[in-house]
């Protein structure tokens, strides 16, 4: 059983009190220029998912608390939450550096980017 802390309202609960929202940081490509989107890009948006064994970045919703979506960094092998951070934020630079495989590739150009707010640490 996962024990989760909402970074927005601070409530702690088990996973049934939260809703899993899958992989984090997916951007809908068709939002700005739908005509320019290829079928492959649309496929990536809809179906391709990073599926790492280890550190993963994902969305959760605080169902029975404040109802807000937020981000979490969690290990898919130990099931341990590493950090929680806001839905508009990127994880802390440390976590981005700790990411491996496809996540490392995803964060590569974002680590030094301005506006990448540091993540709030979880209690546990």
């Amino acid at each position: 059983m996962l024990v989760i802390t909402c970074p927005v309202c601070g409530v702690e609960g088990e996973e049934g009190d939260f809703h899993y929202g899958g992989q984090a940081h997916i951007r809908r490509p068709a939002t700005t220029d739908p005509e320019a989107i290829t079928d492959a890009e649309q496929r990536d948006y809809l179906f391709m998912r990073l599926n790492p064994k280890g550190l993963h970045f994902e969305r959760w919703r605080c169902d029975r608390g404040c109802g807000t979506w937020f981000h979490a960094a969690r290990d898919t092998m130990s099931l341990e939450f590493k950090a929680y951070y806001g839905i508009t934020e990127l994880p802390s630079a440390d976590l981005m550096k700790a990411a491996t495989g496809p996540w490392a590739k995803f964060f590569k150009d974002k680590i030094a980017a301005p506006g990448a707010k540091p993540a709030r640490r979880g209690k546990r």
């Binding site: 059983m1 996973e15 599926n51 496809p102």
Partner: protein
């Protein structure tokens, strides 16, 4: 291979069963093979078996990081059915179900196939209508399935709660009389023994660490027991498919989650069919030992640990206690989890890839066991001929680009 028979049983009884030959060898990997299958689960071993049997490719190997049949093949609830909604699904699952019927004879290995009948309960008006729709689709495809009334359900399953005032009353069921169960380990062992007898090397404790390519073609596979040269690789690794395919630079549209199952203490026979209650997320059958075999929905979050949450188990057990009040005081003996690979449309991927010589068979999600013979049969054909088998063709990776999904997620996402 020593054939198993009444005579061989009698002969070995004389020597107190101490002289049975090993069912398969434990060979050292050769430096090169005509094809290498990654993953010695049911699907991988079936693929190797049919490659050797149907396509005379016997210089092949199956490599496995753990032990043969130690993954999801030995972790499922052994349900076999083919009453899916979409034509492409019906074709492959029915091929598998029909192969199961003669598999004990074909393999000379008792897989304990038990076509005991399978009921999918209809517990809401919506579900009743959806099942009727599936039943029409199945009848058009020639499947032996039919809708049955609540009275017939009670006749088949006397322990079911038929209270019309229940929160989820029994409004009927969709019945596949030829569905049922089989012994899961025996599927892996039977295929392994059959493939081994034809010369296939099954190499256990051998983990893949890399896929070597040159000019867009597969040239070999790096393993913890050395490099193996091969022009063809079939990846059949279920939950770990994303990781293996990454070694060849291919991203997969799958997510790995944990699916749990549990068995009760053994009791006298109370239920001689398989019952699936999809609305409330639970399914149950009774094994020959008397244990009730119980499964339900998968845990929602990505997970590689083979450990799930009690939340999902509680949900499953709650549903089944409502449906079968008689089980409320049973103690559960064992529970476990397996890592399943879920696709967006809840249908498998049997496909060639952009890398020549690299084939993938994955995405069976929560419903892989029932499809083992069919999956192995069409995947072997695909690998041997370098083009998709007609039944495998709709399940290619391209379907996600072309938008022709085989949507079983509404029809069967829960109890698959």
């Amino acid at each position: 291979m020593n054939r198993y028979s009444v005579l061989s049983l009698a002969r070995n009884a004389v020597t107190y069963h101490k002289d049975w030959a090993r069912a398969w060898r434990s060979p050292e990997p050769k430096p090169a093979y005509d094809a290498v299958i990654v993953g010695a689960g049911g699907h991988g071993l079936a693929t190797a078996y049919y490659l050797a049997k149907e396509h005379k490719l016997t210089n092949i190997a199956v490599i496995e990081k753990g032990w043969l049949g130690g993954g999801n093949t030995g972790r499922n609830t052994t349900i076999i059915r083919s009453n899916y909604l979409q034509d492409a699904s019906i074709a492959i699952y029915e091929l598998a179900r029909s192969l199961y019927e003669g598999l004990s004879q074909a393999l000379n290995y008792n897989i304990m196939f038990s076509p005991r009948g399978l009921l999918m309960l209809c517990q809401t008006e919506h579900e009743l209508r959806a099942m009727k729709r599936t039943s029409h689709a199945n009848r058009l495809a020639g499947l032996d399935c039919r809708m049955i009334s609540p009275a017939e359900v009670k006749g088949l399953v006397p322990i079911i709660n038929d209270d019309p005032g229940a929160r989820y009353p029994i409004l009927g069921a969709y019945y596949q009389p030829r569905g049922g169960t089989a012994r899961h380990d025996a599927i892996a062992w039977g295929y392994a023994r059959g493939a081994d007898a034809m010369g296939v090397d099954i190499i256990q404790n051998c983990e893949v660490t890399g896929i070597r390519r040159q000019g867009g073609k597969v040239t070999g596979i790096e393993t913890t027991r050395g490099f193996i040269a091969t022009p063809k690789i079939g990846v059949v690794t279920a939950g770990h498919t994303s990781l293996i395919m990454q070694m060849a630079g291919i991203d997969m549209p799958i997510e790995s989650v944990c699916l749990q199952a549990l068995v009760s203490e053994p009791i006298k026979p109370v239920i001689d069919v398989v019952v699936m209650a999809n609305t409330v997320h639970g399914y149950m059958s009774q094994s020959d030992k008397g244990e009730l075999v119980i499964g339900g929905g998968a845990d929602p979050y990505n997970n590689y640990s083979q450990r799930g949450s009690f939340t999902a188990l509680e949900h499953t057990v709650t549903a089944l206690v409502e449906t079968f009040p008689i089980i409320s005081r049973l103690r559960m003996l064992r529970h476990w989890g397996g890592i399943v690979d879920m696709t967006g449309d809840r249908s498998p991927i049997i496909s060639m890839t952009d890398v020549e010589g690299l084939y993938v068979n994955c995405g069976w999600g929560t419903g892989g066991f029932k499809s083992i013979p069919g999956s192995g049969f069409v995947f072997a054909d695909t690998m041997a001929n370098g083009r998709p088998h007609p039944i495998a063709e709709p399940f290619s990776l391209n379907r996600f680009i072309e938008g022709r999904l085989i949507d079983e997620s509404v029809a069967a996402a829960v109890a698959h």
